[in-house]
């Protein structure tokens, strides 16, 4: 293999990693906000799926990709409202509520999708293209990897410090983290735990929905059954692996994205490995990762425990 070819492959793998990490990053940051507020939301998969479907509907119906982004965000927020209603208000077990949401979202999106395309060829759209940042994109290696990406990828990367700032440097973030660590402290101050959890879960799920929306608008031109293919669960694993911290979560999702990118490139290079094994890599890695992470200290103390006033 020539030197030039090797370099091109490496750049391609890294650039694809950054592209693939975008939806995971949006969704993981959203789930980070949700979980720091004490809600163990297992409905990430369903929320991403709904965001992706809403984006598909809006993109094919209106032809506007930015309206599609908005649709994904709103759909995510709506799913967040359902989760908050069930967990914070009705006090359904958090795991059960999330599983229920996934099953509900899977059934509903598939039904609407089938009725949407019934009796006609499936409508498609053309998704986001790369937006090269002037000057920066000319830097060798770094330029094509980091600065010649979809516009929303830049937003996702900037969202990491933004979420960190929100959580650790604002009053809102302090209250939000308090929801997960010690909701009683808020309650005795006369601040509503339920209202704050609703707001946090809707904000977080809006970002999770945006992740699903980007998966649609940045990678595909059409919706399919099980479109998100387990990425929502990868996000949940990334949160645990990232110890519920923005930077840790960024590292974890990047590792998953790198694996996926590597798998696609191995196929392109023509490695003699069954492609199913390559597709299975992120799931194998998740299990291996969780086996090694027995004791994590960053988990919010009251995560998944419904708050009830004594």
């Amino acid at each position: 293999m020539s030197q030039l070819f090797q370099e091109a492959i490496i750049v391609s793998i890294l650039a694809a990693t950054v592209r693939i990490v975008t939806p995971l990053l949006f969704s993981a940051l959203g789930e980070l906000i949700t979980q720091r507020a004490g809600i163990w939301n297992m409905g990430v998969e369903g929320t991403m799926l709904t965001g992706a479907f809403a984006a598909y509907l809006a993109a094919t119906a209106t032809g506007s990709l930015w309206l599609a982004v908005l649709a994904a965000v709103l759909a995510g927020a709506l799913m967040g409202a359902v989760i908050a209603f069930m967990t914070s208000l009705m006090r359904v077990d958090h795991f059960i509520a999330g599983l229920g949401l996934n099953l509900l979202a899977g059934g509903l999106t598939l039904y609407w999708f089938q009725s949407y395309i019934q009796g006609r060829a499936q409508p498609t759209f053309s998704g986001f293209q790369n937006v090269a940042i002037p000057l920066l994109s000319d830097i060798p290696l770094l330029g094509p990897v980091l600065f010649s990406q979809r516009a929303l990828t830049y937003v996702a990367l900037l969202a990491v410090p933004a979420v960190w700032f929100l959580l650790y440097r604002t009053r809102y973030g302090l209250e939000l983290r308090c929801l997960g660590e010690n909701p009683k402290a808020l309650d005795v101050k006369g601040l509503s735990v339920t209202a704050r959890q609703f707001a946090a879960v809707m904000l977080g799920s809006a970002m999770t929905g945006l992740g699903g929306g980007f998966l649609m608008l940045g990678f595909s031109d059409r919706f399919l059954a099980d479109f998100t293919a387990g990425r929502g669960w990868i996000v949940v694993v990334a949160l645990i692996a990232g110890n519920w911290r923005p930077r840790g979560v960024l590292i974890a999702v990047t590792a998953f994205a790198f694996l996926e990118s590597l798998a696609t490139h191995l196929q392109v290079i023509g490695a003699q490995v069954p492609h199913q094994l390559l597709l299975a890599l992120p799931y194998l890695a998740s299990i291996a990762l969780l086996m090694g992470l027995r004791f994590r200290t960053g988990q919010p103390a009251r995560l998944g425990v419904p708050y009830a006033r004594e």
């Binding site: 509520a97 229920g100 099953l103 509900l104 598939l110 019934q118």
Partner: protein, 355 residues
């Protein structure tokens, strides 16, 4: 102002009323969903009913459709009652079909009385192996069982995909790969009953399994441990119960039940190994088990209800143009209202005077 107050004792009438409201709300929401896509709601509902119980053939289809989801529902009941949120049923169904298919090759030529129990045991063994993996991951490595079972589900699905496409079990016609195995020989079809080839003998097994589950849950030390694990694991530990052992037994039994569903689907319905028949049976079982109140008898009724829905949907598709995904959509909707009803049943609504 009104407030929710937990009930000290459950009130049977109030519980029944809240679940009746959940069914009504689920049907109403399904009607709205149908109307939202321009379908004739009354026509769809009457077609569903006709297709579920309207003729002997419809009833047979209902039973056949209910069989796997009652079994995966029972698998859910055992695990969830112990607050083990295993959702490995989906992958275990696949494993059961794969194990059964392997068994059919190993045991080919045996008389039916040995062959069928043998191949079903092969299938269940595969599900048990998966359940054991999840149990080890939880006990030894502290991996959350929801996440590990989801990951295992994807791994099993990819394994089947490889076996059928590129691997040793695929049926290849020239250059095309069909993503399915060749047909099983006729003698490997589960025998039919009442002169119907559709109504295979496997439909009896979920009822047997439900009876055994009910007995074990209510009348044995193991059942006590399962319920105790969900209710108060700390007290159970102080009694000297080995929690890890109980977790392992639950995961093995749950895996065996779900895998049995996959094996029956292979030998009774599909007669060849392919993913289409198996997708969603495990997830449907989670819904069925939860709507059945995590009780074996309730699960049988919920399974029959959704089996009828699935059978009705087959009939409905012949008539009109309502999408097949109506079934999972209605399942999800009904589950949602049942979860809410389960909470409502535990609380009293109290009026509080505002100062």
């Amino acid at each position: 102002m009104i407030r929710f107050e937990p009930r000290v004792e459950s009130d049977a009438l109030w519980t029944a009323a809240s679940f009746a409201m959940a069914i009504a709300a689920g049907l109403a929401a399904s009607a709205i969903l149908l109307a939202s896509t321009g379908a004739d709601v009354l026509q769809v509902f009457s077609a569903l009913l006709q297709g579920a119980v309207g003729s002997p053939k419809a009833v047979a289809t209902t039973l056949v459709k209910a069989t796997p989801i009652i079994l995966t529902g029972l698998a859910t009941v055992i695990a969830f009652r112990a607050q083990l949120w295993s959702i490995g049923q989906e992958g275990q169904v696949f494993a059961g079909a794969m194990g059964g298919y392997l068994g059919a090759q190993v045991l080919a030529g045996l008389p039916p009385l040995l062959f069928f129990p043998g191949v079903l045991a092969f299938g269940m063994a595969a599900g048990i192996a998966l359940g054991w993996l999840a149990a080890v991951l939880k006990n030894r490595f502290g991996v959350n069982e929801i996440i590990s079972t989801v990951m295992l589900n994807y791994l099993v699905v990819y394994l089947l995909s490889w076996l059928l496409q590129g691997g040793p079990w695929g049926e290849s016609g020239g250059t095309i790969s069909y993503h399915q195995s060749p047909m099983l020989p006729n003698e490997a079809f589960l025998p039919g009953m009442f002169g119907s080839s559709r109504l295979h003998a496997g439909v009896l097994l979920p009822f047997l399994a439900a009876a055994i589950c009910a007995l074990v849950m209510s009348r044995t030390p193991l059942g006590y441990e399962i319920r105790g694990l969900g209710y108060n694991p700390e007290a159970l530990r102080h009694k000297g119960v080995n929690i890890n052992r109980t977790v392992t037994i639950i995961m093995l039994a749950s895996g065996a039940l779900a895998a049995l569903a996959g094996a029956i689907e292979l030998f009774g319905v599909a007669h060849r190994l392919r993913a289409d028949n198996l997708i969603g049976l495990g997830y449907a079982g989670i819904i069925v088990g939860m709507i059945g109140g995590l009780r074996p008898l309730g699960t049988v009724f919920a399974g029959l209800f959704f089996g009828g829905l699935a059978s009705g949907a087959v009939y409905m598709r012949v008539l009109g143009d309502v999408p097949a995904a109506l079934v999972p959509a209605m399942q999800g909707i009904t589950l949602f209202f049942f979860l809410c009803a389960g909470v409502v049943a535990r609380y009293r609504i109290v009026r509080v005077a505002v100062q």
